[in-house]
Symmetry: D2
Subunit: 300 residues, 4 copies
């Protein structure tokens, strides 16, 4: 029998409280069951706690045990946000010296669906995110989110090219002003994170739907020529800055969660891999539903 | 002469204020001159502003112009934090509708030095960071920071292996308790960011020195066998958790910046690529000098 | 009804044959059934064909259709190497102008198992790879492989530290020479790819077993203190260069595939994230079983 | 004085030759002087040698010494390909048991230039690559290369959208057939690597020029609206598949290196980050100048 000193529980030589101590990049298989549908996810989990001045180590292996008990102990979970909360609670149970725990979970999320035309089966890659902060006094917040990739076409360059085409191919300006003109377009990565108020539910698929409505659809691999043409056509009929995408998604969210309280936190971002630049363009709202509700002005 | 509509200045259909609109990943060559020494950096710059509800686009090209005027207009700058502040000011000048601007700059930073023994020339790779937030009422904050990579050896596993060796090679426990035992050790990434109070200066090289003092040195490519052995030996004579590294660096910082005000923000983190795990261990203090000053208890 | 010109089938202005035209990074969900066990993988697929001088485009959408018909048409596949071959065959069927097709598939592969002691359930992350080249005259080759991460301890630095400890703690050299001394140790990434001869089978789990036998186990997240100590202890009782790891795995492979033909291609590599350096150490055999069989000399 | 056993020089237990043993990701500052112009590069260097069956370790630290003597010993080098050859020669000098050495060098390469209009200063980010293989019998080959990022617009989707616009905005088909129609466009990454025959020189800037001629320019950060519009306009006037880009660059290369021998190796690739797909499209020629010379058919 080997007798081990508890090194973690010792007093550190220098005693100063640490804001955040944890593990990054733990991988676990998770089976989500929701509305009778089952999805297998390969999750990436990060866990953080605070550490008081008089405790040397934050006992990392107990954090892993907490994941184990929650994930491997249950055959299925209802969602990644729920899972992040449950893990955070279990970690706090195991680490009596910490006052709060933050857990972040992310996963790829592939959905198969029928493309509208010809009923071809397609696979669309999304991302899922869940995050919870739990303290001794209860759940501080629980958020769920999605990553969706679509195409956006720049409204500004479109007007410049219209002028250039008009200069080189004169005499059809009225027609030219009606049709969509060429512009740069690119992969646009949308991310939505929304707080889930107690007793409420947010479906990741609804957040995806909100994003796709604004983006005009998601990128996927199978596209026959007409689907391809339509996606390009729609993106150019509705050219959008990253700013526009974020603003429009914010309104989709307001519509879908009308009864969520004003203090509900919401983060919406859009990042476009500019096809005319080596850098990316980015826009974000990090706010509450209440502020967006009161701050929005609809143009006439 | 082509006449263009100002699309960016239009009113958006949906008017809601955006928290953060900007560009990520702009690359620029920057020459820093400091204490008579010149360094050429290849910087990566991110710029963000807020955007009011009634403005459609945040005019990205003017942000780039701001960088151009600041960087290409000046042959040299005194540091990346200074540069981030100057760019943020210039951006605000050009975008009258935004109330504040945040600029982040990062760069690889290679230093050549003489290794102590035998006077061999070595090259050590570090990272530099600068970040400023400037609003209409003045500079909100200006931070400078470094990334340093060293080795840390785990104090906890060291005690376990001591017990295992004692079990298998009995009879020398007193000697065994004096020498460093085997344990897992790994690359440890330290990051320090410190606010630079008005009228003060922070040398990145001092932050590097503080990190290296705690880490027992930085990783570099040229190591003859004895240097190598010494680095391993020192790391095992002074085994440290990520928690210990952050705590010890916090005290190094207190010592070096005794006259900086209590409200000075300081972020110190340590992330170790655990050689016995597929995940990383992480510890961080995100606080103020004042809180660390008052919160620190020295163990007897 | 929209009538479209077949742009892909046109003659290019400049006619020169292309070695490799294809798609990178297609993601698909795949269910593998093997020995009655089912695994769900999220695969990343790359497809390449050659393109003759007189054909403008390689019709990317037909490549995706090929994946669709093979993956979505079959509820399960027997393995990623089999799948890569089937997709390559289907692509050649659809692209009559190409003479050969190469398909590469990779996926994360999580395995749950009981840790030996205390029967705790653990999750180990691996990688799977499959690659096939198919031409008009048949399958050129089909390979399967794994990615396994373990720990390696450096035998060279171990001798240096022994000398340093002996210098500072004199009088116990005999004991010191018997116990493992401290050294740098780190994450070591092993990759094995082996050709699957016609009519034979290679189990990815066997390749993993071969790697783990040499590495002394795989890294995983849950480790109680004794498991942790044992892993470190074993790695130091058997310190290994990346060169040693590759050589030892080559012998494990010879033992397991004695009846595979001499011309069977085999690639074995080991890359260690050196904990005393900012660079990685790497060793590889890219050879055939025959050459390894005849080239191996066992030391006395 | 510490006496150390030479662990590297020992005989391995299992003796089997290794194809490739080396170091990946060494960073060094390099000053290139060429045509009187000086450029400071932050290089990433990989070094590999073969290792015979009877040698335990490939002595990594001597490889670093070789870099040190070549780079730090010389204040300037004429180019990255030259440097890769010199390091490979020096490594072979230091490792008598290896028969050949391969060295790969890569670096970011920022060029400042005047944009044509208005004489604005712009910064364009490129990549440089050098690779040499040297054996006991001399230099096997020496290659130099560049990475250039531009925009490409898809010719296929352009025809589909023309048909869609014609359907929805009928009566102007003749005009519509003359102007460029909307299509997906994206960042396109070109890579050229060319062997440098003995006694000849290849200017990286010429390879960049060849790429930019085909791509219609490189992406950079500063673009005023008209520059932006022109870049988009030109890309749509000359829509290109990745296949077209590779074919056209191959002809640019033939024109520029008419007197290079037929056996000169040449690799040209183009990878586009498809704005309508989550995957990338890729085309490559990996061939010799001779084969491209004889294999090219110019369409009438």
């Amino acid at each position: 029998m080997i007798d081990l000193v508890d090194v973690q529980a010792g007093k550190p030589k220098i005693q100063v409280p640490l804001t955040s101590v944890g593990l990054k990049g733990i991988t676990y298989p998770v089976r989500v069951r929701r509305d009778g549908k089952e999805i297998d996810l390969l999750t990436r989990i990060d866990i953080f706690v605070d550490l008081p001045a008089n405790r040397k180590g934050a006992d990392f292996s107990r954090k892993i045990e907490a994941i184990n008990e929650i994930i491997l102990g249950n055959s299925v979970v209802p969602g990644v946000e729920e899972l992040s909360g449950k893990i955070a609670e279990k970690v706090l149970e195991k680490l009596p010296y910490s006052t709060s725990c933050r857990v972040k979970i992310s996963a790829d999320y592939l959905r198969e669906k029928q493309s509208d035309e010809k009923k071809r089966q397609i696979v669309i890659p999304y991302g899922l995110e869940g995050e919870s902060v739990v303290s001794r006094s209860g759940t501080h917040y629980k958020m769920v989110g999605v990553n969706v990739t679509g195409m956006n076409a720049c409204p500004c360059a479109m007007e410049t090219t219209r002028a250039l085409i008009s200069r080189d191919f004169p005499g059809n300006d009225e027609f030219l002003s009606k049709i969509p003109s060429i512009t740069h377009n690119q992969r646009n990565h949308v991310r939505i994170m929304i707080e889930v108020p107690p007793g409420r539910d947010v479906e990741a698929d609804d957040l995806i739907e909100a994003s796709e409505k604004v983006l005009g659809g998601s990128l996927h691999s199978l596209l026959k020529r007409l689907d391809e043409g339509e996606l390009v056509y729609q993106a150019h009929l509705h050219p959008k800055f990253v700013e526009d995408i974020v603003r429009e998604i914010s309104q989709e969210i307001l519509t879908r969660y009308v009864d969520f309280p004003d203090e509900t936190r919401i983060i919406i971002s859009s990042e476009s891999e500019e096809s005319i630049h080596p850098h990316n363009a980015f826009a974000e709202i990090d706010s509450t539903l209440g502020k967006i509700r009161s701050g929005t002005v609809k143009a006439d």
